[in-house]
Amino acid sequence: MDKQVATLAEAVAGIPDGARVMIGGFGGSGAPIELIHALIDSGARDLTVVNNNAGNGHVGLAALIEQKRVKKLICSFPRSADPRVFTEMYLAGEIELELVPQGTLAERIRAGGAGIPAFHTPTSYGTDLAVGKPTAEFDGKPYVQERWLKADYAIIKAELGDAMGNLSYRMAARNFNPLMATAATHTIAQVSRVVPLGGIDPEQVVTPGIFVNSVVEVAEPAQEEALNRAEAVYP
């Protein structure tokens, strides 16, 4: 078994127009910038993207949005230091937004990966974000029913990967990446280094290879924050 793919272009080649794509990362940390740029190059459009944010500056997710490839964004916080691209398109009615509380977003993705179609959470009860959702009481407290979230593809970033797709992460760049790996039909991981089988201690494997379909090596991956400080623009 060898899940390695030689190039970024090859890794994303199968993502069709209209696909639902989960993109890992929280802000720039853990964001698979090179895979996102390859997705831009692939020309795929009308995508529904799941990410915590809406990108920053003119690289990565912000560039994907700027190139008008995203029809709908499912996220918790589409506002930050420089999210002008999303803000302008949203206010012009050019992109759809499904706003989800951050913990609910994480749990919906976990549920999607775990085969749990719905669950109850106290989060958002009694707020505008619970409107239209079923509620129920458990042990005298009210909860909102939320549904699983799945995707056709997940593009994620990890630190180490092997040919079987086992992954480990670096610091807070872990965030949504391991969850998204479980919730997509096809998960593509960019890793900073491909190691031989056994190169990741089984005790240290965070995402077991069963959740991963493709691994592509990107040595010294770009950091969104560094690109933005250099005022980079993609493409």
């Binding site: 853990g30 589409p78 706003l99 009694g126």
Partner: protein
């Protein structure tokens, strides 16, 4: 009922740093704490001598420390505000679902947030002014559920002088009946059984003047202490 002018209030009220200092005095040694982005983050600077809280950030770090020096940032190591942080001995990384299990699962001792409005039944409005623009909620709606104490730091009134402690929130809610204590620029107020209960107030303001700056009844239940913060 006399009413203090905004100028008079500005002279006596606590600064944000002093409000954060007061909130920090209530955090026990070893407490697991989440500080909201912005103003609440200042609480970390004022931990009393001999006490050490363990700070949680939504994006998957427990036990982080101060910001690194400029040029020393590692952009894989940030907090929920996307700011670079450092690690302390004993820190841990985890994914987002585990992070929010810590929040909703009742494992945090204290969550400290900002507020637009707090109602006497503990309802909190802090995520949206309801006036359009791009809506963004982040982890606020999760953080108000599960922590043993949900505390709010806020100016006692808005910039225009309108009450922020009100009978019912008029802005979109973050959570229902979730706030347990409010640290304001003038007072420390608990939410108990659907009422605001005064615990401490600045010596320079009378009960009547404080009540006049509230949108709901301010009750007492036991002694009211003096709210005194050091110059910071």
């Amino acid at each position: 009922m006399s009413k203090m002018t905004m100028e008079q209030l500005a002279e006596i009220k606590l600064s944000n740093a002093q409000i954060a200092w007061r909130a920090a005095q209530d955090i026990e040694d070893g407490a697991y704490v989440n500080l909201g982005i912005g103003f609440p983050e200042m609480v970390a600077k004022f931990q009393p001598e001999g006490r050490e809280a363990i700070f949680h950030t939504e994006n998957g770090v427990l036990g982080f420390g101060e910001a690194p020096a400029a040029g020393e940032e590692d952009w894989d190591l940030i907090n929920a505000g996307k700011k670079a942080i450092t690690l302390k001995p004993g820190s841990a990384f985890f994914h987002h679902a585990d992070s929010f299990a810590m929040v909703r699962g009742g494992h945090l001792d204290v969550a400290i947030l900002g507020a637009y409005q707090v109602a006497e039944n503990g309802d909190l409005a802090n995520w949206s002014t309801g006036r359009g623009g791009v809506p963004a909620v982040g982890g606020a709606m999760d953080l108000v559920h599960g922590a043993k104490r949900v505390a709010v730091l806020t100016d006692h009134v808005t910039k225009k002088g309108d009450p922020k402690l009100v009978a019912a929130c008029t802005m979109p809610l973050t959570g229902v009946g979730c706030v347990t204590r409010i640290y304001t620029s003038l007072a420390v107020v608990d939410v108990e059984a659907g009422r605001f209960v005064l615990r401490e107030k600045l010596p320079a303001i009378s009960m009547e003047d404080l009540q006049a700056l509230m949108g709901a009844e301010l009750t007492t239940n036991g002694p009211v202490g003096d709210l005194i913060a050091p110059e910071l």
